[in-house]
């Protein structure tokens, strides 16, 4: 294929993604160092670190960032606990495995917002969960899920569990069944087989799933906004506030860049854990 035709084939996509997608990111980085006098809509493009100083020192933003991070970590942990048995079931070709695998795709295709709507009906004071618990006599007054961190956590797990299960199932499906059988036939107790064979070999899948869930939860917007009912500020909701309601564009940009930095640091840490775990267990990548 000639050089010209390659360029022509790639041009429309590169133009759209380059100009409409990557250029705005560049502008964000620049704008984060600009400022906007209070009450004015005119941006002052002289270099300043004011926005970042405000994010790092104002307790409101520090707490919101910290909350977003621990909510994401909890989401990863719960997804791992729920997702590992599911992934192993799917990978082990037990009955129903292909049905279970396809069902796992559902939350990814059904639309985040429509499922959040379902969650609101499920978790509201007069909702299904409270109704069921009351009719079972387990609680007297309704539990408040909406507008709390617990509600957001449930929403995040519901939305992102597939991101843990799918990569994990792919890795587990590739493990040769003979390894386990060999360990068992050589007399290893079940627990030892798990600790020394199954878990070390599934580390790449666990980490791949964790990275996906963590990044998705950290940047999630709809779930905290709707299930938190505006009472629980997380990164995405305060960034939206600044960008769309307060209209402080330089500050919103600085918030967005801070999130990218946190994501980058998280990815480096995950890569470090991966290298450490693989070396320790002597598993080749």
């Amino acid at each position: 294929m000639s050089r010209t035709s390659t360029i022509l084939l790639l041009a429309p996509a590169m133009l759209l993604i380059g100009v409409a997608f990557l250029l705005p990111f560049l502008l964000l980085v620049l704008a984060g160092f600009w400022s906007q006098p209070p009450g004015s809509w005119i941006v002052d493009p002289t270099f300043t670190l004011k926005n970042y100083a405000r994010i790092a020192t104002d307790a409101y933003y520090v707490t919101a960032f910290a909350r977003t991070i621990w909510l994401s970590l909890f989401t990863v942990a719960i997804c791992l606990l729920l997702g590992f048995p599911v992934a192993r079931w799917i990978a082990s070709r037990r009955p129903l495995h292909s049905f279970l695998a396809i069902t796992m795709l559902l939350p990814l295709v059904a639309g985040a917002l429509l499922q959040t709507l379902g969650l609101v009906n499920l978790l509201s004071l007069l909702g299904v969960v409270n109704g069921a618990l009351k009719s079972l006599g387990l609680i007297d007054s309704s539990i408040r899920f909406l507008g709390t961190e617990l509600g957001i956590l449930i929403g995040l797990v519901q939305a992102f569990l597939p991101l843990m299960v799918l990569p994990l199932a792919t890795v587990l499906a590739k493990l040769p069944k003979e390894l386990e059988q060999a360990a068992m036939s050589l007399g290893a107790p079940r627990l030892a087989v798990w600790r020394r064979v199954i878990l070390p070999l599934s580390v790449p899948g666990i980490l791949a799933g964790s990275v996906l869930v963590f990044c998705a939860a950290l940047t999630s917007f709809v779930t905290p906004q709707v299930l938190g009912q505006g009472k629980i500020p997380t990164f995405a909701t305060i960034a939206y506030q600044q960008a769309a309601l307060v209209l402080d564009w330089p500050f919103a940009s600085a918030l967005a860049v801070s999130l990218l930095v946190i994501l980058g640091v998280a990815l480096v840490i995950f890569a470090g854990i991966r290298r450490f775990a693989l070396r320790r267990h002597g598993v080749a990548t």
């Binding site: 294929m1 084939l9 964000l28 279970l100 795709l105 917002l113 079940r190 709707v226």
Partner: protein, 266 residues
């Protein structure tokens, strides 16, 4: 003793799997279930069942317009996504050239970088350009987020294609354009359908980007639903339409799975 522990472990295992699927499916089940609620406000257990909200949905002019906007936008975005994405994927899969990995990374970037961060930037840029809330503005945003899906699916499709088939057609006298139309295209047809379906779905379901750049005139269905959810009052008509949308997605998804084995291409 050992058999007893095994049974306990297996039971706990199956229980966790069951809990996971209840968590995954409950919102969708409740959504469909509550759309048949006869009351004004959703309450569990429902006091009566009826189809009144579905009837109201069919009659309502506003809902028809927001669904129309969503459908139009998603159709146009999906068309552009498939055409532009397929061209790029063809170049990536066939022509080895310097920097092809960089090009692939750039084209797939919207899948890796957080859309919320992009939306914050877009909001401001669109305000400068004066295109926020306009159809072209929405279209550019939706095309940008859907193209990577087409690029990815079609690159996989083209690289699985045996180049000898096209070579054979050409050596038998077919012009390259004819060989492309009669040999290559039919072989990647299922990938094209999947790209179109995913692009349509991503555009139709998008709420993050659209709600940042939404205006008063072009309001998509998700943006409308989102503003209702934020103002703490969801119209039962919205619930009915939402349930219908989920049902349509499910049916089309299962049909696609049967016809094209989509889950193997993802």
């Amino acid at each position: 003793m050992r058999r007893a522990t095994n049974a306990v472990v297996m039971t706990v295992w199956a229980l966790v799997v069951a809990v996971a699927y209840v968590v995954i499916l409950a919102p969708i089940v409740v959504l469909i279930f509550s759309s048949f609620d006869g009351g004004e406000v959703f309450r569990f257990p429902p006091r009566s069942y009826s189809l009144r909200w579905y009837e109201a949905a069919i009659r309502s002019q506003e809902y028809r317009s927001s669904l129309g906007v969503s459908a139009l936008l998603a159709t146009v975005a999906a068309l552009v996504s498939v055409v532009v994405g397929t061209l790029a994927a063809y170049a990536l899969a066939r022509g080895r050239f310097r920097g092809s990995e960089v090009v692939a990374t750039i084209l797939l970037a919207p899948l890796a970088l957080p859309l919320i961060v992009w939306a914050i930037a877009l909001l401001q840029i669109y305000a400068w350009l004066g295109i926020s809330g306009s159809f072209p503005g929405l279209f550019i945003a939706h095309a940008t987020i859907t193209i990577p899906f087409s690029v990815r699916i079609m690159t996989a499709n083209f690289s699985q294609l045996d180049p000898n088939l096209v070579a054979a057609a050409v050596s038998l006298g077919a012009r390259p354009s004819v060989a492309f139309r009669r040999v290559t295209l039919p072989l990647v047809a299922s990938g094209l359908v999947l790209s179109a379906a995913i692009s349509f779905l991503v555009s139709f379901n998008d709420v993050i980007v659209s709600s940042f750049i939404a205006g008063a005139r072009w309001i998509t269905f998700p943006v409308r639903l989102y503003s209702e959810l934020r103002s703490e009052g969801v119209d039962p008509i919205t619930v009915a339409i939402g349930a219908a949308i989920v049902a349509v997605i499910l049916i089309l998804g299962l049909a696609g799975e049967r016809l094209f084995k989509w889950s193997r291409q993802l």
